[in-house]
């Protein structure tokens, strides 16, 4: 019976039915007696499972009721297969009769048409076929010429990543400087892109995907961080040093970049030329920097522009009204601040990020 009383007390405590003094006393007992504390925790969990069960089954009943009611009112659209089947059964005979009549009529009419239509010589038909074939060949030729003109030979490569699902990408300025054509490609497809603005000082460039086949993403899985990151912090990158996406892992190794540059930081990680423009992520899946250079004589010594600079660059781009005429949706550019990848294991983080990273091709 003592357990019974205890459970009862726990339940009154959980439901907030205790008087203040009683509650205080119970909390004291709980904090001094681990067994009681354990029981409270365990019972809370069980009760929440029980109430969750209750709520879900109530919702299920409610959903069934609503469904039945709406179906009776005919608000759930036509339930095609079911209706078709019953109609078929009902009108099978009628359909057969109708079909036979239709068949006979069709035969009769086609006979009539053949009889009454003017005669055309075979030569004329052959001539027309020839003309059409000839025209087709010409059109194909022209199309081929157009295609070959539109496929530029790309001679420079880098990496870029989305900062807004509408198609805004960040890469390094040195990747796209003086480019005539820019294409970007992710795991889903290849798209034409154009340069919105270069910021050579920060070595950043804003691109926009400008291609009808591009399907905008709603939201991004990662966030762009405004903070600096700490010395020794684990970092990872996903970029395109080669035509395949490559994952690398390292750590923040110095708070400044090349020549005590405070706008960037140093990290120790493997990187190659195509990694320019690669986002640097912390464990929470926040972008804290963009790789822009590496020390040739020292392995694994890589520098990255702090992501803060992206915000600065975007602010100045938005303030420049002359850019409005180039891209009217620029005012709606919105960078995600929070990451949806916190506490997610690395493989899943990579899976969710990879579609948002692009190889940047230019000529």
């Amino acid at each position: 019976m003592q357990d019974n009383a205890l459970i009862d007390t726990v339940e009154r405590y959980l439901r907030g039915e205790m008087l203040p003094e009683e509650k205080l006393f119970f909390e004291h007992v709980r904090s001094t007696n681990p067994d009681v504390d354990q029981l409270v925790i365990e019972h809370t969990r069980f009760l929440s499972q029980l109430t969750q069960y209750g709520e879900t089954s109530r919702l299920k009943t409610e959903l069934q009721t609503v469904h039945r009611q709406l179906a009776e009112e005919g608000q759930l659209g036509e339930q095609r297969p079911a209706i078709v089947v019953t109609l078929w059964k009902k009108y099978k005979r009628v359909v057969f009769v109708a079909a036979s009549i239709a068949g006979i009529t069709a035969l009769f009419i086609s006979g009539l048409v053949a009889l009454l239509s003017p005669k055309v010589s075979k030569d004329k038909v052959d001539y027309l076929i020839n003309v059409v074939n000839h025209q087709n060949a010409k059109i194909n030729n022209i199309a081929n010429q157009v295609n070959s003109k539109e496929a530029p030979v790309f001679d420079g490569f880098g990496t870029g990543f989305l900062i807004d699902g509408k198609g805004y990408l960040i890469t390094n300025a040195h990747v796209v400087r003086n480019a005539r054509e820019i294409d970007v490609q992710n795991t889903l497809g290849n798209y034409h892109a154009r340069l919105i603005r270069l910021d050579p000082q920060a070595d950043l460039a804003l691109l926009k995907i400008d291609d009808t086949t591009y399907r905008p993403f709603i939201g991004l899985p990662y966030g762009i961080s405004k903070s600096d990151g700490d010395l020794g912090e684990d970092l990872f990158t996903l970029g395109y040093p080669r035509p395949e996406i490559v994952y690398n892992k390292g750590y923040l190794s110095a708070a400044t970049g090349h020549g005590e540059d405070t706008t960037s930081f140093q990290l120790t990680i493997a990187a190659n030329p195509g990694n320019s423009g690669t986002p640097v992520f912390n464990n929470d899946g926040e972008v804290i920097g963009v790789i822009n250079s590496s020390q040739h004589d020292a392995q694994g010594m890589v520098f990255a522009v702090r992501s803060k600079n992206i915000f600065r660059a975007i602010d100045s781009i938005k303030a420049d009204s002359s850019l409005q005429s180039i891209d009217s949706s620029l005012v709606h550019l919105h960078m995600p601040l929070t990451s949806a990848l916190k506490g997610v294991d690395r493989q899943k983080q990579i899976k969710r990020i990879e579609d948002y990273i692009f190889i940047v091709k230019r000529n």
């Binding site: 069980f46 029980l50 209750g54 609503v66 709603i218 939201g219």
Partner: protein
């Protein structure tokens, strides 16, 4: 994209199990889901099951305090239903040839993983309650789910007083806990 206010109100209504809100969401989005299922080798009953499961996923999301979908309700429901149906088809080893694959989807994998866990818990609880038998099952439901008082319960179940009912409830609860913990393992 932020959830707009009317959709937010609908979600808040759903969190409270509000009939009107459920009905509105149903009217607005059921036909879209039905079209998806019917066009991809499903039947109207499948559409009903999938849509209702998606509503439960949505309910779990709003119950956890998140009224922000970061996308339109339509996109969210479509994404969840699409995922659920793909899974169901894979289990039945049928193929999927989405006719309207131009529609936007959002990633919902993590939420569906959580939902599956909850779904398992739900089924274990249901089994446990069923194997508990009567009157225990109704007694526990009356107290914990319908929030009836012990006096009411004593009256309804024919116990001489509230204390007797409470004793009985305690015994039933202990049995349920035991069965549940055996099932969950």
């Amino acid at each position: 994209m932020r959830t707009d206010t009317t959709e937010q109100q609908l979600l808040e209504g759903l969190a409270l199990n509000n009939r009107k809100a459920i009905e509105t969401i149903y009217k607005q989005h059921y036909n879209m889901v039905q079209a998806l299922i019917l066009n991809n080798s499903g039947y109207p009953d499948d559409a009903r099951d999938i849509f209702q499961e998606a509503m439960i996923v949505l309910y779990e999301k709003v119950r956890s305090g998140s009224f922000e979908l970061n996308c339109q309700l339509k996109t969210y429901l479509y994404s969840v239903c699409r995922r659920l149906w793909l899974k169901r088809l894979a289990q039945m080893q049928r193929s999927f040839s989405e006719v309207e694959n131009l529609r936007d989807t959002v990633p919902v994998e993590d939420e569906l993983e959580r939902h599956e866990q909850r779904n398992r818990d739900f089924q274990v609880m249901e089994q446990s309650l069923n194997s508990l038998g009567e009157p225990c099952r109704s007694l526990l439901k009356a107290y914990y789910l319908e929030m009836k008082s012990m006096v009411e319960i004593a009256c309804e179940f024919g116990y001489t007083n509230a204390d007797n009912a409470k004793n009985q409830k305690y015994k039933c609860l202990m049995r349920l806990k035991k069965i549940f913990s055996q099932h969950i393992k």
